[in-house]
């Protein structure tokens, strides 16, 4: 064990600012010429840049970044995508059509920039503002800046970096008492490149007026075009402002199919006013190194927030979830269920904190993290945490890590199911438990199919269960 003496103890007061890494040099240099009219975006960039300089690159000494290895990223010069790299067509997006409906409302971004020809906004009611950030910056800079100003200076270095490097994104504003009953999909696609490491930084601002209701499906997708052999970073920010009585249901799906190393960062920040509600499900699927940061602020009485999460990982995918729910007013409620199914050498990390401010009495909050390890090489870290300053609160948290439960397995086989089918049922059921908490059947079904696609062959429930109409003979042959 190392002995810490006065000589070698790190002295924070005299911390020397480290020299910029190749990563920082590349992403913070102004290579892109911004439109002079885009003053609102320019402000976002300047604010972001100075905030990033205050925060610095996150080291593993920080609790929130403890288990994420960014050494390789730090030594890579990621550049913005060039304008002419339009390689995505409608066929590439076919797997991402919710309910197979090509006419559903959809905003598509390729490598951080809005692509009108791939999007479909015809179904979005006219009263709703759904425009690219670039356009918003030109046509409604005051509104854009006002919305940005709702949010405090970010505590997340990659969120600051997103602001510093943002080129485009979406501004979605749902007026008061407006109910959007069909999901709006925001597809944030990255392609990677053959010539250089690339970084995209889309930024999504979502505002719900008083009593407004909407359902969003946001996807961060690495398309995995062949030949795109250079590493990629997809660094996304989502900011949500919910006015009193507003309700937002949101599913965030992240998946990387790139050939090369893919980093995916998402940072979601929600400001929830009186009796408003955010129900968010973060789903991480195969590929790369991902970090999802969700921070919800329950600002006024009666606000509610559900943060659920599901990891279905294989290969050497590594996914980190950092969540913060801040109870800042009385009688707010929050619940959290994060579940992981880990195959191969995959890794999941859950670091979730609930804070309850002194005057936030009658807080009711629960947090649970469950992990199913399907391989001896899979790994998980879990850190559910409560920080409570009030005395009249109900908070519960916990974590479990393990294999399938013997008693559940016995129960299923005792009804005649063969053990392989029983295992598939339980494994998929473990994921389905999170999916079932999603409100819209359309979104549930879409997510089911996306999750099933991601389950490895050895635990493939598709053959025995998922198709749901028929047990395939191959999977069902009774042995012995």
């Amino acid at each position: 064990m190392a002995v810490i003496t006065m000589q070698n103890r790190p002295n924070k007061a005299h911390k020397i600012q480290p020299a910029p890494t190749p990563f920082e040099l590349a992403v913070l240099s102004d290579k892109t010429q911004m439109d002079a009219q885009n003053s609102a975006i320019t402000t976002i960039r300047e604010t972001g840049k100075s905030r990033y300089q205050q925060l610095g690159f996150p080291t593993r000494r920080l609790e929130a970044w403890k288990f994420i290895d960014l050494k390789a990223l730090q030594n890579t010069e990621f550049l913005p995508y060039p304008d002419n790299l339009a390689t995505v067509n409608k066929a590439d997006l076919a797997p991402y059509m919710i309910g197979g409906n090509t006419n559903a409302s959809r905003l598509v971004f390729v490598n951080g920039r809005y692509v009108d020809s791939l999007s479909n906004t015809a179904g979005i009611p006219k009263s709703i503002t759904a425009i690219s950030l670039m356009l918003a910056s030109r046509e409604m800079p005051t509104e854009l800046s006002a919305l940005e100003n709702i949010f405090d200076a970010t505590t997340d270095a990659f969120a600051a970096l997103n602001a510093a490097t943002v080129e485009d994104g979406v501004l979605l504003s749902i007026p008061q008492q407006t109910v959007v009953d069909k999901p709006i999909q925001i597809l944030l696609v990255s392609t990677g490149d053959s010539s250089a490491p690339r970084m995209a930084s889309p930024r999504c601002l979502v505002e719900l007026g008083q009593g407004a209701k909407a359902e969003l499906v946001v996807e961060c997708i690495g398309l995995g075009k062949t030949g795109a052999v250079q590493p990629t970073v997809n660094n996304t920010v989502i900011q949500i402002a919910a006015r009193p009585e507003a309700e937002l249901r949101m599913t965030l799906i992240q998946e990387a199919r790139h050939e090369a190393t893919a980093y995916s960062f998402t940072s979601t920040e929600a400001k929830l006013e009186a009796n408003s509600c955010l129900e968010m499900t973060t789903v991480a699927l195969r590929g790369g190194i991902a970090r999802h940061n969700v921070q919800a602020h329950l600002l006024e009485e009666g606000a509610h927030c559900t943060l659920n999460g599901l990891n279905v990982l294989n290969g050497d995918t590594k996914v980190h979830h950092h969540t913060e729910i801040h109870h800042l007013a009385p009688a707010c409620t929050s619940e959290q269920v994060y579940k992981s199914i880990l195959e191969d050498q995959s890794m999941a990390d859950f670091d979730g904190t609930i804070t309850v401010a002194r005057h936030a009495q009658k807080t009711d909050s629960s947090q649970m993290n469950r992990t199913l390890l399907l391989s001896e090489d899979a790994k998980t870290y879990t850190r559910p945490q409560l920080k409570i300053d009030a005395d009249d609160v109900k908070c519960a948290h916990g974590a479990t890590v393990g294999q399938l439960e013997e008693e559940q397995l016995f129960y299923l086989v005792s009804r005649g199911l063969n053990p392989e089918i029983a295992q598939c049922l339980l494994t998929f059921g473990f994921a389905e438990d999170v999916i079932n908490r999603i409100n819209l059947p359309l979104v549930r079904q879409y997510l089911e199919s996306r999750v099933l696609e991601n389950m490895g062959q050895s635990h493939n429930p598709k053959s025995c269960y998922a198709s749901c109409t028929k047990i395939e003979k191959s999977a069902c042959e009774i042995e012995g």
Binding site: E406, A422, G429, C464, C476, I478
Partner: protein
């Protein structure tokens, strides 16, 4: 149908069954009673093939063939059904999907065609009436958030769907109110026939007013120490077990639960 011969079983090296003998024939209803921890639940789980229990001696024959080499699912497919004392919650797996897979496993085993979702849905609705179960339970996750009574009804619903030759009901009456007890018992009686057999494990004579046994056995210290007709249950209700146990010291070997 079921022949248990000098069955001995243990869990974690603790001997629980110490030579059980029992013969159950088609068309019969047997009741097994006995003090807490006498090995009743263990007996049911050993017959169903629970992996936590080790059979250390004796044999269990079902229709003349030893069950010892059969996995739990193979025993189920052969026609054995255990209604659990504590039905297990399986979040994320719907009752309908689970039961259809179980039903189709049996169909395949019997060389019958599998049936699709719609056809099975009709069967399930019909069977749910037997236990007066609301259709909404069909699409909910298996036993998740069910009350004690709903879980027990769900066990009998499964029995109704799978139509076993031998049903072992492990304390199906525990945790039931009078109305639920009547519904569950009526369900079991509807499923009873001259071709199948039922073994009821219970603490209370009350259940036996509704499911009338042909034979009553007292299990104590991992052995059947007395067998008789229906009147034995009434006698036990009146006198308790002490008069039977005498100074037998072996009482209390089992766990009394899960």
């Amino acid at each position: 149908m079921l022949t248990i011969q000098d069955l001995q079983a243990s869990v974690n090296d603790t001997s629980i069954l110490n030579g059980v003998n029992l013969q159950v024939n088609a068309g019969e209803v047997h009741a097994i009673m006995g003090p807490n921890g006498s090995g009743k639940s263990t007996l049911s789980k050993v017959v169903a093939g629970h992996p936590a229990f080790e059979v250390t001696g004796g044999d269990v024959l079902f229709e003349g063939k030893s069950l010892m080499d059969l996995d739990p699912n193979e025993r189920a497919l052969a026609g054995i059904f255990l209604a659990f004392q504590y039905p297990v919650e399986v979040p994320g797996v719907s009752n309908a999907d689970f039961l259809r897979l179980a039903y189709n496993s049996k169909q395949v085993h019997n060389g019958q065609p599998e049936i699709d979702e719609d056809a099975f849905s009709d069967i399930l609705k019909e069977k749910a009436k037997i236990v007066e179960m609301d259709e909404s339970f069909i699409n909910r996750a298996v036993n998740e958030g069910f009350s004690g009574g709903e879980k027990k009804r769900n066990e009998i619903l499964q029995m109704a769907v799978l139509e076993p030759k031998l049903a072992i009901l492990d304390e199906t009456d525990s945790g039931l109110d009078i109305d639920a007890l009547k519904i569950v018992s009526a369900g079991v009686n509807k499923l009873k026939s001259k071709d199948n057999a039922v073994v009821v494990i219970t603490h209370y004579q009350r259940l036996l007013d509704y499911i009338k046994p042909d034979f009553v056995h007292v299990l104590a210290g991992g052995k059947i120490i007395k067998s008789g007709g229906r009147e034995l249950a009434l006698e036990l209700e009146e006198k308790g077990y002490d008069w039977l146990l005498g100074d037998k010291a072996a009482v209390g070997a089992g766990s009394g639960g899960q």
